[in-house]
């Protein structure tokens, strides 16, 4: 994926929908692109020091204690809860086929979210939807 393709991809993700082209360029340079093969673990339950990931292409399964809970796909993000709370992740996230993500070190997340408040707002909206979905299932 070239830089231009990456920026076009970012522009199409809800999380970054409010950013200008130069801001998308900065985001593309701030996050690292990572590739995971089928079955590879991206996030590990109970391990400290994890990072924030945004799915660019492909799918990933969320497992809690070995049980699959949901599937993540393009535009979804994960790892933010453990970073915000300073606790190890409570789930494994495993690539289902080739998976491309953008990754940001946990230690850089606070600076990033403060620098891009529109991204933070979009992230809050996504979290609200997750809470609503969780409550609907109760």
């Amino acid at each position: 994926m070239s830089r231009a393709e990456l920026i076009d991809t970012l522009a199409g993700l809800a999380l970054f929908a409010d950013l200008s082209r130069p801001q998308l360029e900065a985001v593309a340079h701030t996050f690292e692109e990572e590739y995971f093969a089928d079955g590879q673990r991206v996030l590990r339950q109970g391990f400290s020091g994890s990072n924030l990931y945004i799915v660019v292409s492909g799918q990933a399964a969320v497992h809690v204690d070995g049980t699959q809970r949901t599937i993540l796909s393009r535009g979804d993000f994960f790892g933010e809860i453990s970073i915000l709370l300073g606790e190890p992740p409570v789930a494994d996230v495993v690539a289902m086929g080739p998976l491309r993500c953008l990754a940001l070190a946990g230690s850089e997340v606070e600076t990033f979210l403060l620098a891009y408040p529109r991204v933070t707002y979009r992230m809050l909206q996504a979290e609200a939807r997750r809470v609503r979905s969780t409550n609907l299932w109760r």
């Binding site: 994926m1 593309a28 692109e33 020091g49 190890p88 070190a105 946990g106």
Partner: protein, 510 residues
């Protein structure tokens, strides 16, 4: 297939005047004679894995035959260290020498240093690598250029300038020294970093440098005494190694331009995305938009240098099916540095950064540099020997009451663990209380993600506060748990407190 199967090398007559490894079939072929290729070939040879080593270059050294441009490396080799030169712990103090299993093979770079800096000069590095190839007797077929790749039923055929080579496994140690530039209109008008002229040529000139990583700051640092004005430009703020706590950031020795910027002395470090570059009668105009604050720039300058980085010269490997990432610059690799999509295609050297590892606390592996990838080479060679060629490397037994001391000694002194933090692990397998074996160094991601016997692994970890401490991974019944041990201000993890904590952790396992 036109390639003929050759007799084992030991049965062939060789003479010094004959170039080694004529075209034919070999179990393994390594490509490249930089530090990654030499180190991998060395360890394969030590394990008895027959292979041919090919290189397009006329001699050993790889990228160090040409770079760094301003003739000084960015990683230390300390001629005088707290431990004896040539010992295993000394490798932590000498990041540039290749590793040797026999006396006289390792710690060679300091021999050629002149005392002016603890960063070796380019020539010292090149001479150190040539000395390694010579003294450790690492034969390479030089002036043999890999030009293409074909897949066969039982491996691969490499098309080279000397003919075709067939093999079961290929290891590409081809570096990451091919200039790379982003797709920006007008970028083709400006020279890449590799075509930077002598600093004197920039006397009294305005210079725009596109890129704020090490190569950009390296150029800026060299031009400080000459250029009238220097502007460094890239979309994201400069990441400094002292902040990232890794070698991924700009190294401290290149920070003078940054200090000049901070003090307002005439160097500008801008966060801006280049939109286009145009020629003007007197030079160039660079159009850019601010990223961290809104602004439009139209920068008139006498010259522009694209310090935009490098890519891996993969030739036709993408067509073969090798998946890439990082803007198509790196192959995606397994923990043992095999292509995730084409089995039998491995990588060594700086390209091993294509296996990301856990990247705990955001700290990447050190595989991009000699200090890190030389250790990867040893692990790769053993992996190839054992998984492809049925060679079993004996494991030493460990006494139960010695395991804790052994692990703490390793995390305090082992260069593998310090050079490759949270990436390479020292592993001890516990088959039973009576059969405990030293498994050696393994990629941490392999240990935590692939099952195996009950075992314990230890790594050196650095967290977001910069704290260095041991992290222990215990596998019991297939489940791996993580435990972080305390740090120590003098990095001594062999204290009674560490012993007590690790002993308690391993209670029931040993």
């Amino acid at each position: 297939m036109a390639v003929t199967r050759r007799q084992p090398q030991s049965r062939r007559r060789r003479s010094a005047s004959v170039r080694p490894f004529p075209p034919g079939w070999y179990p393994v072929i390594t490509v490249g004679s930089g530090p990654g290729g030499l180190q991998t070939s060395y360890f394969l040879r030590r394990l008895g894995v027959e292979h041919a080593a090919l290189s397009a270059d006329p001699g050993a050294g790889g990228m160090f035959r040409r770079y760094p441009l301003f003739q000084r490396l960015i990683s230390w080799s300390k001629p005088y260290a707290p431990v004896e030169r040539g010992t295993r712990p000394y490798e932590w103090y000498d990041w540039n020498s290749l590793l040797g299993d026999a006396p006289g093979h390792g710690a060679l770079v300091p021999e050629f240093m002149d005392g002016k800096s603890y960063f070796p000069s380019r020539t010292a590095m090149e001479r150190g690598l040539a000395a390694f190839a010579d003294r450790a007797r690492v034969p390479v077929r030089y002036n043999c250029r890999w030009e293409g790749t074909k897949r066969t039923d039982d491996g691969f055929v490499l098309v080279t300038s000397d003919g075709e080579y067939a093999c079961r496994v290929v290891v590409f140690a081809i570096g990451m020294a091919e200039p790379w530039t982003p797709e920006v209109p007008g970028m083709d008008l400006v020279p890449h970093y590799v075509r930077t002229a002598s600093p004197r040529a920039y006397a009294d000139k305005r210079v725009v440098i596109l890129g704020k990583r090490n190569s950009g700051f390296e150029v800026a640092d060299a031009l400080l005494p000459w250029a009238r004005q220097i502007i460094l430009l890239s979309p994201r703020p400069a990441l400094l190694s002292i902040h990232s706590r890794s070698t991924a950031g700009v190294r401290a020795r290149y920070l003078l331009p940054y200090e000049d910027h901070v003090l307002g002395g005439g160097v500008f470090v801008l966060d801006a995305a280049t939109e286009r570059i145009e020629r003007t009668p007197s030079g160039y105009r660079v159009y850019a938009k601010g990223t961290t604050r809104p602004s439009d720039f139209a920068l008139d300058t006498d010259t522009v240098i694209a310090a935009t980085g490098f890519t891996t010269p993969l030739l036709d490997l993408r067509t073969l099916g090798v998946a890439t990432f990082n803007q198509d610059r790196l192959p995606a690799l397994t923990p043992f540095w095999e292509s995730t999509t084409v089995r039998g295609v491995f990588f060594a050297g700086t390209v091993t950064q294509g296996a990301i590892g856990l990247k705990k606390h955001g700290i990447p592996s050190n595989s991009g540099g000699v200090a890190g990838f030389r250790h990867n080479a040893r692990v790769l060679a053993r992996h190839l020997a054992e998984t492809y060629f049925g060679i079993t490397v004996p494991r030493a037994g460990l006494r139960r009451d010695n395991v804790v001391l052994h692990l703490l000694s390793e995390v305090t002194h082992a260069p593998e663990l310090w050079n490759q933090r949270s990436y390479l692990a020292r592993v001890v397998n516990v088959h039973s209380r009576e059969r405990i074996e030293e498994e050696g160094i393994l990629p941490l991601s392999h240990f935590v993600d692939v099952g195996g016997p009950d075992a314990v692994a230890i790594v050196l970890e650095t967290d977001q506060t910069g704290d260095h401490h041991p992290a222990v991974y215990v596998r019991r019944g297939g489940r791996v748990t993580e435990h972080v041990l305390p740090s120590d201000p003098l990095h001594n993890f062999e204290t009674p407190a560490h012993r007590a904590q690790l002993t308690a952790l391993l209670d029931g396992l040993l």
